[in-house]
């Protein structure tokens, strides 16, 4: 397989797709970088001029930027915590033999199949609405004041909604990993006197470490750019309390029509994502090797 001839042939065969992919990625990136150095406002077409780094300066010194940065990380960390811990718990539950296992598994997977906008609207109107929502009814039923989740705890609410959507993904990956745990190892641990908790700590968790890594890596990529859920529920507000970087870029470009500033924000988001990826790989990427 790996003769010189086959390798150069393989390279020639791959070249078109590599070129296509490269163009696919390079062109938008190059254009974004180019725009980020222009003063480019949609309200003043034809007035574009070279702006140097001023777009970056404005974006980085905007007080909303730090709030957005914090919110972005809070969403990533919060959702990861909920989905990984909840996912492990659910996977272990679903792994137990029980009545109606097939149906329960489908039900658990269902949230993943629902579009983010729809899911967010369902949560906003049917659960978290302070007048008609289920939570409000429950609160009233036990004699409490209904709580306006989206106004009083907007970031928390968004974390919960997004976590609800990603929980099935985590559960599914962890469940398949769990099912590949060797039965004899569990029995050996049982004979060695390990109780359920020790078996979980010493056997299950190390066995799941690779799957957990995959869940964290994949989810982080998507969680850095949560958007639809924010748009349809809180619109980034109140104020900028639930604005993340993606939403800030959107607001810059399409609410303030500042394409140059938004492009600068986009590039900053890309750089940040790379920093996060770098640290993630340093921290947990090792488990994927070997």
């Amino acid at each position: 397989m790996a003769t010189l001839h086959t390798r150069s042939a393989a390279r020639a065969m791959m070249a078109p797709s590599v070129l296509l992919l490269l163009a696919w990625m390079i062109v938008p990136l190059a254009m974004t970088i180019y725009f980020s150095f222009l003063r480019y406002n949609l309200l003043m077409p034809g007035m574009e001029e070279w702006a140097g780094f001023s777009n970056y300066r404005y974006f980085l010194t905007d007080p909303a930027f730090f709030q957005a940065l914090f919110n972005t990380l809070a969403i990533v960390v919060g959702v990861l915590l909920i989905t990984v811990i909840g996912g492990i718990a659910l996977a272990i539950l679903l792994d137990q033999p029980m009545f109606g296992q097939g149906i329960v598994r489908i039900l658990v997977i269902a949230p993943f199949l629902i579009m983010p906008t729809v899911a967010a609207l369902v949560w906003k109107n049917m659960f978290m609405n302070p007048v008609n929502g289920l939570f409000a009814h429950l609160a009233k039923a036990v004699g409490l004041q209904p709580y306006d989740f989206l106004n009083n705890a907007p970031l928390m609410s968004i974390i919960v909604i997004v976590a609800w959507q990603w929980l099935p993904f985590a559960t599914l990956i962890l469940l398949t990993a769990l099912q590949s745990l060797d039965e004899e190892q569990k029995e050996a641990a049982q004979m060695d006197g390990a109780g359920a908790w020790s078996r979980f700590i010493y056997l299950t968790l190390p066995h799941l470490s690779r799957a957990i890594t995959v869940v964290i890596l994949i989810q982080t990529i998507f969680l850095l750019s949560v958007f639809a859920e924010i748009l349809v529920t809180t619109n980034g507000g109140p104020g900028t309390q639930s604005t993340n970087l993606t939403f800030l870029v959107y607001a810059q470009a399409l609410l303030q029509f500042d394409v140059g500033g938004a492009s600068a924000g986009g590039i900053i988001a890309v750089i940040l994502a790379n920093i996060v990826a770098f640290f993630l790989m340093r921290m947990i990427g090792k488990t994927l090797e070997a």
Binding site: D182, E184, D192, A194, Y202, H207, S209
Partner: protein
């Protein structure tokens, strides 16, 4: 210490009765081997003793105490699995130390016991490796190490050598026998390899479809099989089984003669036949002979026996070496 008694033990999986009812006595310090054809319930029986399966009926007494309802960890037995079942992400050291750690032993005690076990099993140089960095035989030894540090009342082995190549198997067989002599702990060993059974066992339990066919010492089973099943199962190559008029001549429904108990001659003897295949091993010669009115019989002669395909030979059973069985397959003594 270390005796195991099964009273009327049965096991049913759904509608499928795997073990109808077994009574068995394993004495302290004995090396007991379960043999039988595939699917006869050897592993199931071992797992019942270990507590990894619940009995459907009957009683298991370990070390004088009723253990029928006890959790596996409470029975103070150690098991070595066919797949070794080592913990893949732990070092050899942690693997061996695991049962001690679970028992809440002191770190210093654990270190000492692990070091002792490693020395006995020649694992000292590998203590910091992961199981996947070991050879099959070394993994097997780690599994045994993990079993011995707990100082159990009995060891259970489920086909521990079946994943090893032939040469290593002979080695490990010796090592396990030596270990038994050293520790003098009861061992229950499952195998379908009768050489392992014959060489290692103090007592062999022959199982067939969940029933005990015979219990006895290896030579006892070899010389005095209780029935046709045991006669055919123990011994290699298999015993020759003859029915019909020849058997009637011996006053039995069926007779059996082991290949090594047939005298061969090219000139005269009891039964005449034609050599089908002759296997010359140097030390032995195995002849597959098509005997008139009987069918194919196997004969074994020590050393060389210069015959070839198509040659005429005469077979005669040695005096007193003919096993006789009645219509139901039971031995006539």
């Amino acid at each position: 210490m270390g005796s195991i008694t099964l009273n009327n033990v049965s096991k049913v999986f759904g509608a499928h009765t795997v073990i109808p009812s077994i009574d068995l006595n394993i004495e302290e310090g004995e090396f007991v081997v379960f043999v039988g054809p595939s699917g006869c319930g050897k592993s199931t029986l071992l797992r019942l003793i270990a507590g990894l399966e619940d009995v459907s009926g009957g009683k298991i007494v370990i070390d004088g105490k009723d253990a029928t309802e006890l959790a596996p960890a409470k029975r103070r037995l150690s098991m070595v699995f066919q797949s070794y079942a080592l913990y893949p992400h732990m070092s050899v050291r942690s693997n061996i130390a695991f049962p001690l750690k679970m028992a809440g032993e002191d770190a210093s005690v654990i270190d000492k016991k692990v070091a002792d076990a490693a020395r006995v099993l020649n694992l000292t140089d590998y203590l910091d490796r992961k199981p996947r960095q070991l050879s099959g035989g070394q993994r097997q030894r780690v599994a045994i190490g993990r079993a011995i540090v707990r100082q159990p009342v009995a060891f259970l082995f489920d086909e521990p050598l079946s994943n090893l190549d032939a040469a290593l198997r002979v080695n490990m067989r010796l090592e396990i026998s030596q270990l038994h002599q050293q520790l003098k702990t009861t061992m229950v060993y499952v195998t379908h390899d009768q050489v392992e059974a014959m060489t290692m066992a103090d007592k062999i339990v022959v199982l067939n479809r969940g029933n005990v066919e015979q219990v006895g010492s290896p030579l006892d089973l070899y010389h005095h099989p209780d029935n046709l099943f045991v006669a055919g199962f123990i011994g290699s190559p298999k015993m020759n089984i003859i029915t019909g008029d020849i058997a009637k001549g011996y006053g039995a429904h069926t007779i059996g003669v082991r290949p090594e108990h047939l005298d061969l001659s090219t000139s005269a003897g009891a039964w005449r036949g034609t050599v089908g295949v002759a296997e010359h091993l140097g030390s032995d010669t195995f002849l597959h002979v098509a005997v008139d009115k009987v069918g194919t019989m196997t004969a074994r002669v020590g050393g060389d026996f210069p015959v070839r395909h198509g040659d005429q030979v005469y077979l005669s059973p040695q005096e007193g070496r003919v096993h006789r069985f009645d219509e139901t397959g039971l031995a006539i003594r």
